[in-house]
C-alpha cells in the first residue's frame, strides 16, 4: 500500500523536479563516456609507449618480425574498421532523421565489419604463429599480442554493444528525439577505431 502511495506522489511531482532534463542526462552520459575513454587513453598509451621504446631501441628485431606480417591482410582489416566507423555514424544520422530501420541496417553493418575484423585478426595470429612469432619466447611477439589482443577485446565488446543497440532500436527505444544511447556507443566504437589507426601505423608500417 505504501508503495502505491509513493508512486502516486512521484507522478504528482512537477516535471524534472530533482531529475536531470533529457538533454542534461544525455550530456552527462557523453561526459561519462569521455571520462572512460580518457582512462583508456592511458591504458593504451602504456602499451604503445612500451612498444615504441622497443621499436626504436631494437629496430632490427622489429624489421625481422615485420617481414612475416601479411600487410595486405592487415590493410584490409584497417579498411573494415574505418568502414565500420563510417557505418556507425551513418546509423546515427539515420536515427537523427527518425529512420529507425536505417539505424538498424547501418549498426548491423558496423557489427558485421567488427566481427570480420576479429576473425581476420585470428587468421593473422595463426599465420604469425606458423612463422614463429608467439606470445612467449619472442620479444616482438609479446608486445605485439599484448597491444593487438587488448584492442581486439575492445572490438568484441563493441560488436556485442552494437547488437544491444540493434535490440534496443527494434524495441523502439530510439527516436529522432532520443538517441543518446546510440551516440554513446558511437563514441566507444570510434575510439577503438582511433586506437587502431595508431596501432596499424606503429606496428605494421614504422
Amino acid at each position: 500500500m505504501s508503495e502505491i502511495t509513493v508512486e502516486q506522489t512521484h507522478h504528482e511531482a512537477p516535471p524534472n523536479h530533482g531529475h536531470a532534463s533529457p538533454h542534461a542526462r544525455a550530456e552527462n552520459l557523453k561526459l561519462a563516456m569521455w571520462l572512460y575513454l580518457g582512462s583508456e587513453v592511458i591504458i593504451f598509451s602504456v602499451l604503445i609507449g612500451a612498444y615504441l621504446v622497443f621499436r626504436f631501441n631494437y629496430p632490427e628485431l622489429v624489421r625481422a618480425a615485420q617481414e612475416s606480417i601479411n600487410v595486405a591482410l592487415v590493410g584490409l582489416n584497417t579498411f573494415l574498421l574505418l568502414g565500420s566507423s563510417w557505418a556507425m555514424v551513418m546509423g546515427l544520422l539515420n536515427i537523427q532523421r527518425g529512420n529507425r530501420d536505417g539505424l538498424v541496417r547501418w549498426i548491423g553493418l558496423t557489427a558485421l565489419m567488427g566481427t570480420v575484423f576479429v576473425a581476420l585478426q585470428g587468421v593473422e595470429y595463426t599465420e604469425l604463429a606458423h612463422e614463429g612469432i608467439a606470445v612467449y619466447g619472442n620479444e616482438f611477439g609479446m608486445r605485439f599480442y599484448a597491444m593487438t589482443a587488448f584492442h581486439g577485446f575492445h572490438v568484441i565488446i563493441g560488436v556485442l554493444w552494437a547488437l544491444f543497440v540493434i535490440f534496443n532500436a527494434r524495441r523502439g527505444n530510439y527516436s529522432a528525439e532520443n538517441y543518446a544511447g546510440v551516440e554513446v556507443f558511437g563514441l566507444y566504437w570510434h575510439f577503438v577505431d582511433v586506437v587502431w589507426i595508431f596501432l596499424f601505423t606503429f606496428i605494421y608500417l614504422f
Partner: protein, 111 residues
C-alpha cells in the same frame, strides 16, 4: 535550450551533400571523411611498405595523426560538442605523450 531538444542539436545540420573547397560533393560529410581516411590509408601503406628513408616515420606519424583528428572531430563530434569533452580527452593524452617522449629519450641501458 528546452528539454524537448535532443542531445545533438549541433549535428542536425548534417546535409546530404558537402561543399569542399567550393566543390559540391553529393555525399554527407561523414562519407567524405571516410573517403579521405581510405585515401590516406592507401598512401600510408604505400609509404610504409617502400624502402624507409629519414622522413618515412615522421610522415607516417603525421598521416596517422591527421586520420585520428578527422575521426575525433567529425565522427566523435568534438568539432561541435561541448568543450569539456575535448578537455577530458586532451588531459590524459598530453600526459601520455609527455611520458612516451620521456621514455624514448631516456637511454635504454645504463652507462
Amino acid at each position: 535550450m528546452s528539454d524537448e531538444h535532443n542531445t545533438l542539436d549541433a549535428h542536425d545540420d548534417v546535409k546530404d551533400e558537402t561543399v569542399l573547397f567550393g566543390i559540391t560533393i553529393p555525399f554527407p560529410i561523414y562519407t567524405v571523411v571516410f573517403g579521405a581516411l581510405a585515401v590516406l590509408t592507401v598512401i600510408e601503406v604505400l609509404i610504409g611498405t617502400a624502402e624507409h628513408g629519414s622522413l618515412t616515420i615522421p610522415v607516417l606519424f603525421g598521416i596517422a595523426v591527421a586520420k585520428a583528428v578527422m575521426v575525433v572531430l567529425f565522427y566523435m563530434h568534438l568539432r561541435t560538442d561541448n568543450r569539456i569533452f575535448s578537455i577530458v580527452l586532451l588531459i590524459p593524452l598530453i600526459m601520455a605523450i609527455i611520458s612516451i617522449i620521456f621514455l624514448l629519450i631516456v637511454p635504454p641501458v645504463a652507462y
